[in-house]
Symmetry: none
Subunit: 406 residues, 2 copies
């Protein structure tokens, strides 16, 4: 975290969670893997805060010094915790491996500190109180750390006496940031002076717009009620371009709509190269409505896998709405699914022409009595064009499902 | 910077620039706009560093307290600097505006501090020495801050006696962090006392291991030469599990090997749901060696798209090495590609059994005279199992291409 390369996101996730239970985060510190530095940071910050959360440095190697720093601060020795050691051994055993001797380090606990079990990795966390401050030491990987924070909050090992900051993330697709702001601002500007005040921030993330709402309330119920009303008001103002009122991903929203409709979907992808299928199948239970997809990168593959006639590709060009429609029709028929999606475009960096520059993408979403066909010109590098294309395909499917339901 | 929303990128840009002239960044601190907190951070960090760079809080409003914090630290009053005041007035005049009275604050300078002119905004920077540390106070916006840093380096107001820090990232797959460390440590531990010293940090990222090497050298050539030798030594020690010596992604490494061999690849994916195809096609120019893939999520799709006989799935179970092999054979034959890859597994969260728990994934990579078939037990949530499965498939393909070349 002290190199020019890695952006810090852990502290944002932790801040969000702590805000929600009423902690204001007063400072953040990044230090290297040097024992003296870490002890100094612990010592100088103790007493200034109710809580110090420290992530990382609980691994098995020599540069993992967080345990030692806590022991030094508390001025106590480190002992092997037998229960923690068993847990680490069991994790290796589950993968059919012997625990390497080096991992014994991870079971070392400063005398008097409490072990926090890690359900997603080998490094247990640690809790200790010193100088009026509760120290919470957690492993660095988010997928290990965040479940531990949740459990510490549930068990009130981390708890604050006052009310909290409650947040809600709304997501909008297919509109620009200034367009969203022009529509949303007259709605959200008056909330700051409400009895439960709500502040609103607009962020552009990967070609999408997010509205971050923060309510300051005495209880979760009060906060949630105010946020619920606020979300409804923004939904009325923004219409169906607002697809998420609880931060859900669009693939999850689409999955719920498909399940509700009892529909299935199959995809034929060219420029997205499998990303649309991969995002659809990121959702647990997606096998209920998705059973197949094809990635037809070459023209021959479009013919073989989605039945697009070669003469048809010749006539319209591989990147064209007729070919996208033929891909969608072909995969829908072959899969026997309710909906077929075809995507064909130019992800770049090469392959663009004056008429069809890099970022040109044609998408067709077809059902028996409904269809949506559009051509986009996305901006950005190869991976961003792929992402936006998959996003647009998911959104067209979402809108088609909504219209069907009307 | 203390909310859950805004990612810190300023410190990365500053670190990159400071590294290049030989400063190692030992710690980073984020504090709010509270005078006492800022003074405390200045005071406790002075003496521990040659240089403290502070950005932000030099604006005209009341919550801009960085100037005041420096004055408090130096224990001197703030005076209006006439030259700075003229500069700010001139900036407003250039836009046809009168300077608002509030902006006079920006010309306030602690006695004895040096003003750093701002060519891109109204807030001048400040330089001062205290407690053996040089304090550099800069405005927050990157487009104002970065040119000031450049000029301070040019004029040697920020300068280090030693050369620069040069970095290299190596990546290893298919081994645990402790295993990599056990092998690599005897190699890298002696470099810290070399004429061009190199420090090494080991990180686990998404089921992979990264080795971050940092060389301190007088010139870029010296640094690169030492890093090149170090990378070779680690390559010898770690063998083919080390797949990247310049931070490249495995899909790019595999793409280069495929191109070199003149080979093509086609994929039949179940649990990865298209992720393997998507990652292969993240690489620009991948159409040279990839023309198609199929996502066969259901058993019927495995039969339809990869020709796996239903009786075969019945006999061995959908998640099994024979089915992975049949998928790879089927797609290889249908695509007419040099290599076929089949992946079938249980991504979770449901679908696991005692014999085949969530995370069980069988992968087959087949060419005419070479094949690799393995069953893994990955740990982690649905998306991590998908990622690791795709990674393992790419790595098996890489190893097969390497063996072929021997």
């Amino acid at each position: 975290m002290l190199t020019p390369f890695r952006v810090d996101t852990n502290s944002l996730a932790i801040t969000g969670r702590l805000n929600a239970i009423g902690y204001d985060v007063g400072s953040k510190v990044v230090v290297g893997d040097a024992l003296d530095d870490l002890v100094r940071v612990f010592r100088t910050n103790a007493g200034t805060a109710d809580l110090i959360v420290c992530t990382g440095g609980l691994g098995p190697t020599e540069d993992d010094v967080t345990r030692d720093a806590l022991a030094r601060l508390l001025d106590v020795p480190l002992d092997v915790d037998q229960e923690a050691l068993q847990g680490i051994r069991a994790r290796f055993a589950a993968r059919g491996l012997e625990m390497p001797a080096i991992n014994r380090r991870q079971a070392m606990v400063p005398q008097g500190a409490t072990v926090v079990p890690n359900t997603h990795g080998t490094a247990p966390g640690l809790l200790a109180d010193w100088g009026g401050t509760r120290f919470v030491l957690l492993p660095g990987p988010p997928r290990e750390m965040m479940p531990m924070i949740e459990r510490l909050i549930e068990t009130r090992a981390i708890a604050s006496g006052h009310g909290g900051l409650f947040r809600r993330v709304l997501k909008v697709t297919g509109r620009t940031e200034s367009d969203v702001d022009a529509t949303a601002q007259p709605v959200y500007r008056r909330w700051t002076s409400d009895p439960v005040p709500i502040t609103t921030t607009i962020l552009a993330v990967q070609g999408e717009i997010e509205l971050h709402l923060t309510a300051t309330a005495g209880t979760r119920e009060e906060g949630d009620a105010a946020l619920g009303q606020a979300a409804s008001a923004l939904k009325d103002a923004l219409g169906p371009s607002l697809y998420s009122t609880h931060g859900e991903k669009i693939e999850a929203v689409v999955g719920d709509l498909l399940r509700l409709a009892g529909w299935s979907v199959a995809v034929a992808e060219s420029c997205t190269g499998g990303l649309l299928a991969s995002r659809l199948t990121d959702v647990p239970g997606s096998s209920q409505y998705f059973d197949r997809g094809v990635v037809c990168y070459s023209n021959q593959a479009k013919t073989d896998l989605a039945g697009v006639p070669p003469a048809f590709i010749e006539m319209h060009g591989a990147v064209s709405e007729p070919v996208a429609v033929a891909m969608a029709e072909g995969i829908r028929e072959r899969a026997g699914s309710t909906v077929g999606i075809g995507i064909t475009g130019i992800a770049g960096p090469t392959g663009g022409t004056d008429a069809k520059p890099v970022g040109t993408v044609s998408i067709a979403v077809l059902a028996a009595a409904h269809r949506k066909v559009r051509t986009f010109r996305f901006i950005g590098g190869r991976e961003l064009v792929k992402f936006q294309s998959a996003q647009a395909g998911l959104n067209m499917l979402r809108l088609l499902l909504l219209e069907r339901a009307v």
